[in-house]
Amino acid sequence: MTINSEKETHSEMESSRRNFIFGSVAAAGLTIAPGVMLYQTANARSLSEKTSSKVRWGMLVDTSKDVDWNKCVDACNKEHGLANENHSRDDQKTQYIRVVDVKNKGTGYSMSLPVMCQHCEQPPCVDVCPTGASMKRPDGIVLVDRHRCIGCRYCMMACPYKARSFVHEVLTDQTENTPRGKGCVESCNMCVNRVDNGQLPACVEASQGAIIFGDLNDPQSDISQLLAKHGGKQIRADLKLNPGVHYQGI
């Protein structure tokens, strides 16, 4: 009897602690430690649940902000252990984020924007993959299952955003959370390991507020509200792939 009641108190304590954390998160983005931000979670999922299509993760990039996008690339490289190829040519090396400079020759106006995997709703890379390695999670994140990838690079040809890279050489000293190796295609996975654990993607954290991450299906999320208020553009929207990455200022 005593043991039972002790157990109950313990579980109550646990649940109230959880409510406290997630309650605060729902109210606003919460900093729990330096560099660790939790995102808004209206359709919160516990770590033991499967992903569901109730959530659609997306990003909103504000290119009008004066941000050094290379900082985002650096953060991405650090998070995923990229830029460790020794023999590949520069155009062969893996890039999850490319910084693209554009210039209007008529007016001379120039700008740069980060282009990563656009996490399409109708991803061509998934359509063409012969083994099912290129996949879209129900929550909208597009990634490569390297256990199934045979390195045919069909997805690289299909992607209109040139978002995918192929690893040409033996890699060593990978990071714990991003296993990657020779013979597989890879691309931005929206830091799926961080997102599943309630953290923001690395580039979002490094962007000083120029990239907003959130749930496009939740009308109350920051990203949805910003998109509803100011609108946004998708790159090559004419292809009707409905990318999850939106841009402002392009």
């Binding site: 516990s46 770590l47 499967k50 040519r89 155009d91 033996v170 890699l171 990978q174």
Partner: protein, 182 residues
């Protein structure tokens, strides 16, 4: 004809018998003190208190555990069990517990016979390719893989045998890139 065949098979079987006896004799000589057949392997001690399943089960079932949970984690986004504890088949967790240190107090990499996974798989003649992608030692330990120690090799005019190169040097020679494809 019959005689010939008979002689042939008799000859063969006697040869086999002799060979078999010799084999048994050699095992006895090697393991005279160990009461077993074949060489013994040393399983490295792990840092954790107990594994996710009893050792007997782990020996047989660890490939299934790993395969099951890799599908759950990667494709379905499941990162923990229902009670919040870590998944049984997390390779990261395997490596963190079973990492082996050498005499210099550094973690040994996958190309070392002392590595936990290698020590057994080499004995069983099973090649695993997990660590072509997965990290083979715990995170934060930064000693580099032996295979990447080819920075000082001169790549020009290398022909094995005419220059004083070790086998490792030859193995580390990068293929020349001439095509334009990505």
């Amino acid at each position: 004809m019959w005689l010939h065949l008979n002689f042939n098979s008799y000859f063969k079987s006697s040869c086999l018998t002799v060979a078999g006896l010799a084999l048994i004799a050699s095992f006895n000589m090697v393991n005279a003190s160990e009461n077993g057949l074949g060489p013994k392997i040393t399983i490295q001690e792990s840092s954790g208190e107990s594994c996710v399943l009893p050792s007997e089960q782990m020996r047989r079932e660890h490939p299934d555990l790993l395969k099951h949970d890799r599908i759950q984690t990667l494709r379905e986004g499941v990162r923990a069990k229902a009670d919040g504890s870590k998944l049984d088949g997390s390779l990261k967790q395997c490596v963190n517990c079973h990492a082996v240190k050498d005499d210099a107090d550094k973690y040994v990499r996958i190309d070392n016979d002392q590595h936990f996974c290698v020590s057994c798989h080499q004995y069983a003649a099973v090649s695993i390719d997990c660590f072509q992608c997965h990290r083979d030692i715990p995170e934060g330990s930064s000693n580099f893989h032996a295979l990447s120690s080819h920075k000082d090799v001169n790549y020009t005019n290398v022909v094995p045998g005419t220059y004083s190169l070790t086998i490792e040097d030859v193995a580390n020679i990068a293929p020349e890139v001439s095509s334009d494809d990505n």
